[in-house]
Amino acid sequence: MLSIPGQQGRFCDSLSRREFIRIGGAAMLGLSLPGFLALEAQAAGGPKPSGKGGFGGAKSVILLYLQGGPSHIDIWDPKPDAPANVRGEFKPIKTNVPGIWLSEVMPLLAQQMDKATLIRSVSYTPNGLFNHTAAMYQMLTGEQADRVSPSGQLEPPSPADYPNLGCHIAKFRPPDVPMLPFVMLPRPLQESNVIGKAGTAGFLGKAYDPYYLYPPGDDMDQTKMDHIKLDDFTLRAEISKARLERRANLRKVIDDGMPELEKAISNYALDEYYEKALGLILSGRVRKALDLNEEPAKVRDRYGRHTFGQAALLARRLIEAGTRFVQVNWPSVANGDPTKTAWDTHAANFGPLKNLHCPKLDSALSALLEDLHQRGMLKDTLVLAIGEFGRSPRLGVSTSGNGNAPDGRDHWPYCYTGLIAGGGIPGGRIYGKSDATGSSPVENPVHPTDILATIYHTLGISPDTIIYNHLNQPRELVKGKVIAGLFS
C-alpha cells in the first residue's frame, strides 16, 4: 500500500500531496487500469483542449532523434562570415521564408521552412565527460546520467533509470483507440556496447516501455523497413480470424465460470488488456499501420527509399492509427567511420554529410512536414528533429577527449540547433540565436529540459507534475521551463 508520509499541504505545483496519495492508493483499490490512467491524467493537468500558450495543443509527437550529434553549422545554422576553419565547405541557401537561411545540403527542407521553427540556441553543459550515452540520457529523460550511474556514462539501461519522455507521455496520455502507445524504431539508441540507454521506461516499469520495432538487418541495409516482423500482430496461417474469435470466446466462457478469480484479480486489468490486444490483432490496426506497401510509390519516393525516410513515413502511419509518441532513431551509429551514414563526424565531416546523411535527413524531414501539413495532421502533431549535441565550430580540434581528423568536428553541447514544428507551434520562425561562430547562444538559450517541458506542455501535461520512482520517492517530471516564446 502506498504510504508515503509527508507534509500536508501543497506541492510547488499547487496540487496537494493528499490528492497524489489518494490517486496512488486508488490502484490498490481494484480500480481498473484505464480508470487509474484517467485519474493520473487529471492529476497531470487534465486533457484540456488547446488553452493558454499552447497547453494541450498537440495530440501526438514524432521525434526524429538524430543520434550521433549532427553538425549544426553545416545543416541548420550556417555561418558564412565565420573563418574558414569554422564555416566549413557548405554555402547557405534561401528558404521559402525570407530571412531564414539553411545550409545548401538541405534544399528540400528549405521549401518547407514555413512550417517549422529552428531553435538555434539549444545549450547545456554536461557533467563530466560528454559522451553520447550521457548526452542522450540528458536529452531524452531530462536528467543527468550521473544521477543513476557513478561514471555518468556507458552504463546499460537499468530499472532505476529515469524514463524516456515518451514513456511518461504514454502513461499520462494513453491512446484514444486500441493502439501501441509508444513506438521506437528502426534501431536502438547505442554507443559502443551500451544499447538502449535512455530508451526505456526505467522506474515506471516495463509496462510503459516503448514498443520496439527493430527490423532485422545491418545498419547500412537501406531496405530493412521492408522486413518488419509482425509476429505478434499477424495471424498465423493456421489461425483464421474466425478461429481466433472462437478461441477468445471460449476463453471468456471458461473465465466466466470462475467469478471469484475474476474478482480477485480485477486490479490487474487483465481483461481490459486482453480486449485491447485482441482488438489490435483482430482489427489489423497495427498490421495495417505497419504495412508500407499501402502507401503509393510516389509518397514512398518522396520520403526517400532509405531506412530513415521509410521510418519517418511509418511514423506518420502510426500516428494516424492512434499511436501517441513515435521516436525514429537515426538508423546507423558508428564512431567517426566516414563510410557509415552516421552523424558522429570526428573525421571526414563534409563528404559524407553532403552525399550520405543530409540527403536522407532532407528528404525524410521535408516530406514528413509536407505530408503532415497536407493531411491536416501537423496542427496537432508535434515534430521535433534533434540530436544529443551539435558539433564543434572549429574543425579538427578535440573538445570531448576524442581524437579528431583535421576535417572532423567534435561533440558540442554548448550551442546547437533543433527543429520543432506543429502541435500549435507556428512555423517560419527562428527562436534563439547563436553567436558569430555558432559556439554559444547569444539570445534565449534553451536547455534540453526546456524542450521536454514544452513537449509535455503541448500535450496538456503540466511539467510541474510530481512523479514517483521505483522507491516511491517524489521526483519532478522535468526541471525545465516551457519555452513560451515558441507559441507567441
Binding site: M1, R17, R22, G35, L39, A207, L261, L270, P474
Partner: protein, 828 residues
C-alpha cells in the same frame, strides 16, 4: 467482477468514475459524501489528557483532549463539544482554544461535556516572553509550511536559487542558507515586514510555491519577531527533543465520521515538555481511511487501517488508527488452528471484525504450493495421484510439502530467487563468474545452509572468486556506496540510499550513519585473478570513507545496537557481518521472515518488504514477532519457516472472499492471487504443452529457472514478463504487472502458439492416443489448470471440439483458452 458479461463493460467505467469521486479528484465532492457524525451516546464520565498542565512561559500554549466513557463501554472524543473554563484569571482560553498563561501561580480548568464534569490542575511557572528560538519555533514553520519539502526548497538543488535541508534535517545548514543571502533582501532589519522571508510565503511578491500563510497569522508573527530580534540561531545551545508523545495512544474513531483530537507532546532531556501539535507535521498513511488535519484532528472516512505519522525536529512517532465501520451482525466463527500463525492472524481479524476465508480445495493447494515451493505446477499424474489419495487433508498436505521442500525442483527455484536478490549478473561477474556464483548459491540452498551463515560467508569471503565463489557477492557490490545500499536493503530491509544525500526523510537514519556503514567496506580490495575475468577479493588493511559535507574521515559504526565486544576492527567486514547476523539484530532476521512470508502470501507483514521503517508499520506485529522467534530459535532455518508458513491455514485459504473480509488486503484473511513470475510462466507453458524451450548453454530439458544469468534465454519472453535485470537489490525489480505487450504475446506470439501446435507436444500426442473426447478434455484441463473440468466446462469444451475444423484444432483451441485464462496465468 461477478456480473453478466454485457454489464461488465458498463460497470468498469462506472466503478472507475465512482472511485474517482471518492478518491479525491474533486476534493469538494469528497466532502459532500463524507459520512455524517454518528449520534452522541450516553456518557458516564470524562477523562482529560494531559491530566495536569504546566506552562513555562508566556508563549507556552497548551491544549487538552476530553474523552467520554460511554455507557456502551467504548470511548469517544468530546473535545470539540466540551466547554473549558479557567477557575481563575491566571490563565485564559485563546480564540484558537488553547490555554495561555496570564499570571504565574496555580489554578485549574473546569471541563464540562455531555452532562459530565472534570477538573485539570494548571501551574503557570512564569510569564516571561523569551526570544524566538530558531530551532524550536522557526524551523518547525519551515517544515509545516512545506518550504523544505523534497519538491520545494528541500530538493537536491533547491528551488529558484534557494535551498534548505530536506525536511529540515540540518538546522545549521538551513540557518546559513537563510542568512547567506547575496542580495540582502531575505531580511530587512529596518522594516521586518519587507523581508523576502515574509513577502514570499505570504504571496505578497510572486511565489511559485503559493501562499503558505497570511500576514498577521501566528506563523507570520513568529517569523517577524525572529527577524526583529536579529535573526539569531540557537542551533548550538538548544536542547533537542528526546521523544515525541502522541495523545491519545489509541484514537477513538471506530465509525466513519467520528473525529479525534490529537496532541503531540515533545519531551526534552531536562524533563520539560512542550505541546508541539501545531508545529509537528502530521500525515495519514491512508487519507481515504482516516485523514488528519494540520491541527491534529483525525477524521475517519471509511473502514480500514491507517497509520498516523508525526514528525517534529527530526524525531518521529507513529500511531495506528483503526476505523472499524459498522459491523452490525458480525459474529466471530472459530476455525481450527493449524499452527501458531493462525491464532495470530485470527486475533488480528477479530480485532478488525473480519472473518477468514475457507480452505482452498486439494487441487488448488497442490498447484499453489507446488508453484510457490518449486516454481512448477504439478504434472497431470501428480494431480491425479494427489486427488486420489484418501489421507486426511492436513496430513496429506503435510506429506506433500515434505516431498516438495528440498526436491531438485525446489533447489532450482530458490537458487534462482537468491541469484535475483544477490544480483548474480554476468555484467558484474563475467559468464564464468556468474555460473560459479550460482553453483555456490545452489549448493547452499541444497544443503539448507542456515541463513545467517549464508550471509556471513558472502560478506566475509576473501580470495580468488573462482575458487571461493562466495566472494562474488563483494564483486557485485563493488564500491562502498553500492555495498552500503545493497547490503542494508537486502539484509536489513532498510532503504539507506536516501541517507546518501540527506538524512532519511521518514526515519531515524542519518547521513552520518550512511558513511559510517560505508566505512565497513572501505578496505575491501580487488585484484585480477589468474583466470581471465577472475578477481581476488582481499582486505587491504587501509582505505577510509570521507563524509562529503565535512570532508572528514568517518569511522565504521553500526546504526543500531553495537558491535560485539569481541569484534576487532582489523577485519571490518567480519565485525560488520557478526553484528549483522546476530540473533538479536532487530532487523536481520525480521527482514528475512517478512520477505519469506511475502513470497507465499503475496504481501509482507511489513510491505514493501525492503522498506522497513517506523512509518511503515507491520500489519500484524505479533505475527511478525512470532515468526521471527521461530526463525531465530530454529537456527535461521529457511526450510523450516517455509514449511510452517505453507501449512498454516492462512496460506491454505481460498481466494473466495466473504462479506466480512472482502475489503481486506493486508491481514491475510484470504489468499491473494499473483501473476506467475516470468520463469514460472514459461516453465508452466512448457509443462502444460509437453514441450521444452531451448536455452543456450543449458542441457536440453532445462527449465527457465535454471538460467544462470538474467540476460539470456527465453527470446524476449522472460523480459517481457518482468524477469529482473539483477542490477539492484530491490524486490521491485521483478515485475508482476500485466501489460499490453504480454497480452499480445500470449494471444498471438510464437511462444504459446508454437508450444500448443508442436507436433511432438502434449496436444498432438493426446489427439493421437486418446480416442475419447471427454478424456481428451480432462487431460488438457489437468495439464493446464492442474484440475479436472467442471461439468459446465466439460460441456463447453466438448462443443468446442465438435464445432472445430478438426479434433486437433479443437484441442489446440481449448489449450489456448486455458493457457490464456487467469486460472493459468495466476497462482491462485
Amino acid at each position: 467482477m461477478n456480473l453478466p458479461a454485457p454489464f461488465r463493460r458498463l460497470a468498469l467505467p462506472l466503478l472507475a468514475a465512482l472511485i474517482a469521486c471518492l478518491a479525491g479528484s474533486a476534493p469538494s465532492r469528497a466532502e459532500e459524501v463524507a459520512p455524517k457524525k454518528p449520534p452522541l451516546p450516553k456518557v458516564l464520565s470524562l477523562s482529560v489528557q494531559p491530566a495536569t498542565l504546566t506552562l513555562d512561559n508566556l508563549r507556552d500554549a497548551r491544549s487538552v483532549i476530553i474523552t467520554g466513557h460511554t455507557q456502551a463501554g467504548y470511548d469517544i472524543d468530546l473535545s470539540p463539544r466540551a466547554k473549558i473554563q479557567p477557575a481563575s484569571g491566571m490563565v485564559r482560553i485563546g480564540k484558537d482554544g488553547y490555554i495561555y498563561p496570564v499570571k504565574a501561580g496555580k489554578t485549574s480548568l473546569i471541563v464540562t461535556a455531555a452532562g459530565q464534569r472534570a477538573t485539570v490542575p494548571v501551574t503557570v511557572k512564569s510569564v516571561a516572553n523569551p526570544p524566538i528560538s530558531f530551532v524550536r519555533e522557526v524551523m518547525p514553520i519551515l517544515s509545516k509550511s512545506g518550504c523544505n519539502a523534497g519538491t520545494c526548497h528541500g530538493s537536491a538543488k533547491g528551488k529558484n536559487g534557494f535551498k534548505l535541508s530536506l525536511r529540515g534535517y540540518d538546522p545549521d545548514y538551513d540557518y546559513h542558507a537563510l542568512i547567506a543571502d547575496v542580495s540582502g533582501r531575505r531580511f530587512n532589519r529596518a522594516d521586518a515586514s519587507q523581508s523576502l522571508m515574509l513577502l514570499k510565503p505570504t504571496g505578497t511578491v510572486p511565489h511559485r510555491g503559493g501562499v503558505l500563510f497570511t500576514v498577521g497569522s501566528p506563523y507570520y508573527n513568529i517569523l517577524k519577531r525572529w527577524i526583529v530580534e536579529g535573526v539569531r540561531s540557537d542551533t548550538a545551545k538548544v536542547k533537542r527533543v528526546v521523544r515525541l508523545e502522541v495523545l491519545p495512544a489509541v484514537p477513538h474513531v471506530t465509525l466513519p465520521g467520528m473525529t479525534q483530537k490529537t496532541l503531540v507532546i515533545a519531551h526534552y532531556p531536562d524533563g520539560t515538555t512542550r505541546d508541539v501539535t501545531r508545529e509537528a507535521v502530521l500525515t495519514s498513511s491512508l487519507p481515504e481511511v482516516a485523514a488528519v488535519a494540520p491541527d491534529g484532528t483525525i477524521t475517519a472516512a471509511r473502514r480500514g487501517e491507517a497509520a498516523l505519522l508525526v514528525r517534529y525536529e527530526g524525531t518521529y512517532a507513529t500511531n495506528g488508527i483503526t476505523v472499524l465501520g459498522d459491523r452490525t451482525g458480525y459474529k466471530w466463527v472459530k476455525a481450527p488452528d493449524f499452527n501458531y500463525i493462525d491464532a495470530l492472524v485470527d486475533k488480528k481479524l477479530q480485532k478488525i471484525r473480519a472473518l477468514p476465508a475457507g480452505l482452498c480445495d486439494d487441487a488448488t493447494y497442490l498447484r499453489r504450493v507446488s508453484i510457490d515451493l518449486t516454481g512448477l505446477p504439478p504434472t497431470p499424474e501428480q494431480v491425479r495421484a494427489f486427488l486420489a489419495d484418501r489421507t486426511p487433508t492436513q496430513q496429506k498436505r503435510a506429506k506433500l510439502v515434505d516431498k516438495l521442500i528440498g526436491s531438485p525442483e525446489f533447489v532450482e527455484r530458490w537458487t534462482n530467487k537468491w541469484a535475483d536478490l544477490l544480483d548474480a549478473n554476468s555484467k558484474y561477474l563475467g559468464e564464468s563468474g556468474v555460473r560459479k556464483f550460482r553453483a555456490w548459491i545452489r549448493s547452499s540452498v541444497a544443503a539448507n545452509k542456515p541463513y545467517d551463515r549464508f550471509v556471513r560467508e558472502m560478506l566475509t569471503a576473501t580470495g580468488d572468486a573462482y575458487e571461493n565463489p562466495a566472494a562474488n557477492y563483494l564483486r557485485v557490490v563493488h564500491d562502498t556506496s553500492t555495498a552500503t545500499e545493497s547490503i542494508t536493503q537486502l539484509f536489513l530491509g532498510v532503504r539507506f540510499s536516501c541517507a546518501k544525500c540527506h538524512d532519511h526523510p521518514f526515519e531515524r537514519w542519518t547521513q552520518n550513519q550512511y558513511y559510517q556503514l560505508g566505512a565497513f567496506f572501505a578496505q575491501v580490495g580487488y585484484k585480477s585473478g589468474d583466470a581471465q575475468g577472475d578477481e581476488v577479493v582481499f582486505n587491504k588493511g587501509e582505505g577510509e570513507v570521507t563524509h562529503p559535507r565535512t570532508g572528514k574521515v568517518v569511522a565504521p559504526q553500526v546504526p543500531v545496537g553495537h558491535l560485539a565486544r569481541t569484534a576487532s576492527l582489523a577485519d571490518r567486514r567480519a565485525a560488520f557481518a557478526q553484528w549483522l547476523t546476530a540473533p538479536d539484530n532487530p532487523y536481520f532476521s525480521r527482514a528475512m521472515v517478512n520477505r519469506l512470508w511475502s513470497y507465499f502470501l503475496g504481501r509482507g507483514i511489513i510491505d514493501p518488504v525492503d522498506d522497513i521503517r517506523a512509518s511503515n508499520p507491520p500489519s500484524n506485529p505479533e505475527l511478525l514477532e512470532a515468526l521471527n522467534q521461530d526463525f531465530v530459535s530454529h537456527g535461521f532455518d529457511l526450510r523450516h519457516m517455509m514449511r510452517v508458513i505453507v501449512l498454516s491455514r492462512a496460506y491454505q485459504s481460498s481466494i473466495k472472499t466473504n462479506k466480512w473480509n472482502e475489503d481486506d488486503k493486508a491481514n491475510f484473511s484470504h489468499f491473494i492471487p499473483r501473476r506467475l513470475e516470468a520463469e514460472q510462466l514459461l516453465d508452466a507453458i512448457n509443462l502444460a504443452t509437453g514441450t521444452r524451450s531451448k536455452f543456450e548453454g543449458l542441457p536440453s530439458g532445462a527449465r527457465a529457472a535454471q538460467l544462470p544469468d538474467a540476460v539470456s534465454g527465453g527470446e524476449g519472453f522472460l523480459d517481457l514478463f518482468g524477469r529482473p535485470a539483477r542490477e539492484t537489490p530491490c524486490e521491485c525489480e521483478r515485475s508482476s504487472a500485466v501489460s499490453l505487450g504480454q497480452a499480445l504475446n500470449l494471444i498471438n506470439g510464437p511462444t504459446v502458439t508454437d508450444a500448443i501446435h508442436s507436433p511432438e507436444g502434449r496436444v498432438a500426442q493426446l489427439v493421437k492416443t486418446v480416442p475419447s473426447d471427454s478424456k481428451l478434455v480432462e487431460e488438457i484441463f489437468l495439464a493446464a489448470l492442474s484440475r479436472l473440468p467442471t461439468a459446465r466446462e466439460m460441456n463447453t469444451a466438448l462443443q468446442t471440439i465438435k464445432q472445430a475444423g478438426s479434433r486437433a484444432d479443437g484441442a489446440q483451441d481449448l489449450m489456448w483458452a486455458l493457457i490464456n485464462s487467469p486460472a493459468f496465468l495466476f497462482n491462485r
